[in-house]
Amino acid sequence: MPAVSKGDGMRGLAVFISDIRNCKSKEAEIKRINKELANIRSKFKGDKALDGYSKKKYVCKLLFIFLLGHDIDFGHMEAVNLLSSNKYTEKQIGYLFISVLVNSTSELIRLINNGVKNDLTSRNPTFMCLALHCIANVGSREMGEAFAADIPRILVAGDSMDSVKQSAALCLLRLYKASPDLVPMGEWTARVVHLLNDQHMGVVTAAVSLITCLCKKNPEDFKTCVSLAVSRLSRIVSSASTDLQDYTYYFVPAPWLSVKLLRLLQCYAPPEDAAVKGRLVECLETVLNKAQEPPKSKKVQHSNAKNAVLFETISLIIHYDSEPNLLVRACNQLGQFLQHRETNLRYLALESMCTLASSEFSHEAVKTHIDTVINALKTERDVSVRQRAADLLYAMCDRSNAKQIVSEMLRYLETADYAIREEIVLKVAILAEKYAVDYSWYVDTILNLIRIAGDYVSEEVWYRVLQIVTNRDDVQGYAAKTVFEALQAPACHENMVKVGGYILGEFGNLIAGDPRSSPPVQFSLLHSKFHLCSVATRALLLSTYIKFINLFPETKATIQAVLRAGSQLRNADVELQQRAVEYLTLSSIASTDVLATVLEEMPPFPERESSILAKLKRKKGPGAASTLDDGRREPGPGGDVNGGVEPAPSTGSTPSPSADLLGLRAAPPPAAPPAPPSAGSLLVDVFSDSPTGGPPSLGPSPEEAFLSPAAEDPGIPIPEADELLHKFVCKNSGVLFENALLQIGVKSEFRQNLGRMYLFYGNKTSVQFQNFCPTVTHPGDLQSQLVVQTKRVPGQVDGGAQVQQVLNIECLRDFLTPPLLTVRFRYGGAPQALTLKLPVTINKFFQPTEMAAQAFFQRWKQLSLPQQEAQKIFQANHPMDSEVTKAKLLGFGSALLDNVDPNPENYVGAGIVQTKALQVGCLLRLEPNAQAQMYRLTLRTSKESVSRHLCELLAEQF
């Protein structure tokens, strides 16, 4: 028994616990517990009324038994009695029992609520706190219904004790999270923000959590909290290490509060008020500076607390993604941590750098750490750290380092933990495809994947290599040669047989001239694997054989003999049997011409998103894939510190991952592709992407819902819809919207007058959304200007899950207002609706045009009518950084023309707005005046409305 027993020890309880601990076996323990349960039951049922102490003791024993993992189905009534007692000690145990063992049988809840109500109104702060703790611990809807209206009053009442305020704030937070509809907004909300100014640090600490949650749902209503939070943070950050007394933790002033304040600020964009912003930047810089100071203590608690604040600061800097200096400093700081002796810091630095890698400002800075990260992948002892290193390599990969990163990941794959092999395989496959410049490297990489980790190479991966080889005729010969060589290994993975079989069946003729890989050699090599393979692979090989008959007539007799064999024609498997019968007949009766037509080489696959990327997204959510997304341009115009590389004009439209390899195949595939000879299940899978006739068009197809504006009233966009829209004028991916329930991510690509957008809806709660229905509407004239075609999404979104929606967009003519996206669903029975502006603005269809100075001035003069020009002079809202400005102009879609404007400070750009009906040429000039912190922006286009609209859109960005 322990030496210390504070307060009043309950001797009976201690003895019981000792007994349990002394039990030699599980059976003995259960026996002892059952004896005790019987005893307690009889006491509770007995005629003699129990005194408070005994009741408390027995309820405690029940609690202990429950915590050992046994079910408790009685004692609730006694607990309710205890919590209604006047004695604090009994009340406390009663509340504890209820908090741990909530059992919402309805009468009981009413009784509990009665007791809680009495305590809440008792004006005894200790009792009030107990009641508030109980509500926060149970947090059920019934409790919300009973108390949600009272707690805000307690929270902001002038005479509430500090400790009561603290409990009330967090209690309200819990209720608000559980059932937001029950908490009435009102006059108290304004006062709650001012708790940020409270003298008591504990009150502030509790209140910030509540305010952060409220902000996420109603950012506009709580906007005043930004400046209050900044000034509070500033006071903490600049205080000496002992100023805050008990709120200083190992020489770090109020680390918990600092972290919470920094989290709160992440609900908002950077402050608009220059003074507030200046003060905040100062705070962020101070934190970064302090990280460089020698530690004030050797204790790990000191460095943890300090670094906790530092990491949260870096998160905020990344969230703002607008201060290149701070981003690069953050990156350097994390770079130091990459080699820190604390595993925890290395882990966090790798994790945090992943997000930095996707910012155009810091991508290049992250890349400088590649060797350290590769080393981490090789030498870290902890798999979770290695996993982070692999994630970071994936995030920092671009064309310049793809070969190195892919080869390191392949090497890692040989020894990687089984749990993460599949993910590494997917990542390698995606990187190899995305950054392949030479396709033989791509083919080698995928075949290596199969060789090293064949079991983890999913269908998506090897289907994809087939699609790409089919579509690129320059790699077909190489692919045939390479698979032929790979198949010669004595033991090769079945996936290799599949890929090899398919490729040789299509392109074996390309290597047939070499006697070492003559047709009979190819056939016997494949057939030597046949008997060891699964039914699906054998079916695929049979198709290869019939293709061989067409490619190599000299193999016909051998192959017919194989098909005719009893083991094929009478195979127990229906698919194999059918293929053998049909192929044999086909080869016997069809003329050479017919055979050649039926067995012709497969037509190119239509361009589409890589199914591998989709798979990785499914595995990891959009974050994983979007770190690689197209928001980052190559070479990063802003991140390219040396400014050496001129972005290619095509960066105006960001290619999809598949477009990288397949290129733009403008010519539609042949109108009548030969049908696969048999509708076997495997073939259907492989060919499922083959064209079904006609070029891929934006026309509606049966399974796609074409959303007409007649659907439902879209509702009024949320107040910050415009602000959110402006965020995406110069970029194509990111988080479009986020509140406590839902996160909407967007990723889009535009080419000519067409666009494709992916929306990712993430359910942030643990509860399923029902009747989930996002719709797109075209207000006003937009219907005749823009076609947005949406795919249906499932009506239910599970808690924590994410669904993706694809939108195809066609710009018919110039337009001024964006389409609206309305998301409706039911959350916990309450209908939710939300309308946003879809980030589709006219500049998305803006193609950059390079031109020399002379041509520019000539056109500039041609567009000299007053209505062709739009001009705006405005104050800079962001620091006037030339790299950032360039990046924004490129993101806007225009080409940047050097040596045009005589003043090198000015920017000049040109481009064409592509719509189906017409093209609008467009010239722009941006003149910064650093002294006055002003810009003058001039747009000239052939169309008045376009000039004006582009000018308005672009002016918002600086």
């Binding site: 009043d8 009976g12 508030l132 209690c171």
Partner: protein, 161 residues
Amino acid sequence: MMQFMLLFSRQGKLRLQKWYVPLSDKEKKKITRELVQTVLARKPKMCSFLEWRDLKIVYKRYASLYFCCAIEDQDNELITLEIIHRYVELLDKYFGSVCELDIIFNFEKAYFILDEFLLGGEVQETSKKNVLKAIEQADLLQEDAKEAETPRSVLEEIGLT
């Protein structure tokens, strides 16, 4: 927001569990089993954080006892590590060099201290003084209450009833 906190011994015995999200008993048991197994399998020098389902697990071992918290994706791992440490300090100060036995025999006290420190999965009060003041006040109330009670039978004193 913290989703739950578990305290368990090296032998895998659960000593304290605090859930800040509503889950069924079955689900709680499943999570506990899974996490105890995962954490106990990790080697001493490994990192204190791991990804688990869509949550982040932060854990630290103090003597024979593991403290293990689950936090959400955007939460701060290091500050959670210090939440654990501050809780240990609070227990230590209250019990006087706390050990696993103190928590076994006075589990209700461990809960009361935790409720003063964390509420609804968020930090409520970080000052050691303020938290312990609240608990000690309660103890004083208990002492008063005890004095007022009628003397109990000898049998009960030795725990036979």
